[in-house]
Amino acid sequence: MTTTTATATATASATAAVRFDGVSKQFKDGTVALTGADLTVRAGEFVAVVGPSGCGKSTLLRIASGLESVTDGAVQVDARNVGYVFQDATLLPWRSVRANVELLAELDGIPKAERKRRTAEAIELVGLTGFEKHLPHELSGGMKMRTSLARSLTLQPDVFLFDEPFGALDEITRERLNGELLKLFQARTFAGLFITHSVAEAVFLSTRVVVMSGRPGRIVADIAVPFDYPRDHDLRYTEAFGAVCGEVSHYLRSVS
């Protein structure tokens, strides 16, 4: 799938999975959410975006997904399949875990046998085996997020968009899911664009951390994260990790 919004500029380099070119967004009510945002996520990269509340991070993702249009600039998403995980797990309350995981593949018209196979695989990947028949209200917040994640995994996305997926979870669950997401990132090669409020989460997960300014949002810093994958939980407590977090925090404070 190649979504090109507004005036498409020249094709990006072959490895660019998501590319924002001078993207601006003004809502109908006059709110300017983004001004001239440039950002490229290459295949195999995992880019985290941090920024003050209301600076336009969600808008950026919604534009990438095609839910919002741009006022100016261009967005290019080069992927056969795009996965989305939002802060709210948005599960259908009347569907079991299995049926919820199956939903998107169903909407995309994937043949039944293949759909069932992918559903079972995705449920196993996120560690929900044994909970297939549970309804969403019978799940903890973390398990709902896993279900949401599994639902996107059935599409075998090559670009994955995350909008504060773990924001509503407690620290321990969040860290555990961070670890699992990283394993997923390695097992399946997708490009990730991950929005978060947590500096530690951003640094732990990503190859690059991008800092956005307050509204209207621009990209003010782009910090490479020098740690190799696989990353161990203990990385969080090393000095080098703390140094990168400190740098991100520094930029974040300067724009808030």
């Binding site: 948005t90 259908l92 939903l103 398990m143 896993r146």
Partner: protein, 293 residues
Amino acid sequence: MTTTLAQSTDTAMPASTDAVGGTRRRAASGKSIGRRLRGLVPPAIVFGVIIGAWYFVSNVVLAPRLRYMLPEPHEIIRIGFMDSHNLSELMQALAVTTKVTFAGLGIAIVLGVGSGMLMTQAKWLEASLFPWAIILQTVPILALIPMISFWFGYGISSRILVCVLIAFFPIVSNTVFGLQSADRGMHELFSLHGANRFTRLWKLQLPAALPAIFAGFKVSAGLAVIGAIVGDLYFKQGVPGIGTLLSVYTSRLEGERLFAAILLSSLLGVAVFLLFGWLGNRAVGRWYNANRG
């Protein structure tokens, strides 16, 4: 892709927490049976008081020649229900009224859910149709009775029409409300995956609307019983319904049979209400009630 990410220890925690929640819920509902039985005591006392007062009025307040106004309860049962001729007359009438109720309700359900689905297909459809549904609701049903007889005569079809008119609105309004209650995020997800109108309706809006739709059915079921009895009262051609008997017995000052008929029509109302409550619970109770905590 054989990597299993969550190790068993990872899921063990949410799994066991969930199980604990499950047993706690079950324990709570087990306890509530005893509590529910105890809950029956106060209304039973009220029932006793009412029956006592009833006998008092029948025997002490009313002179014997006025006793038809409030016959003693056991007399109502003896004359109304134990007498086989009276009983069969009542039962036949009850069957007719029940049929009218369900026919009217059935038509109202089809029309109500259908037009509710139609209205949610486009803003302009809702804007142009829904006000008329409200106006239909505000027209007093009794004001329409002469016109109904004018058009459809005094038979069963007029009785059914009264039921339809009275039961229609709660179903339409609840259907419209329910279909619009689906989560915005879910709508976006469906949009992202190119879901068409039909898929969206079938897989998202309709299931989301079921709790509201069934709530509407429950209200309308009660109204349909009222409609059927009102219909019986005015459209007396053909087999008499319970409402027909109510007016016949009243005109003959047959208090016992009148009260027996009243009792049966109340039972019909309660039964229909319970039936639709049960159906609604069967349809959506598993996810809906639990979601509301």
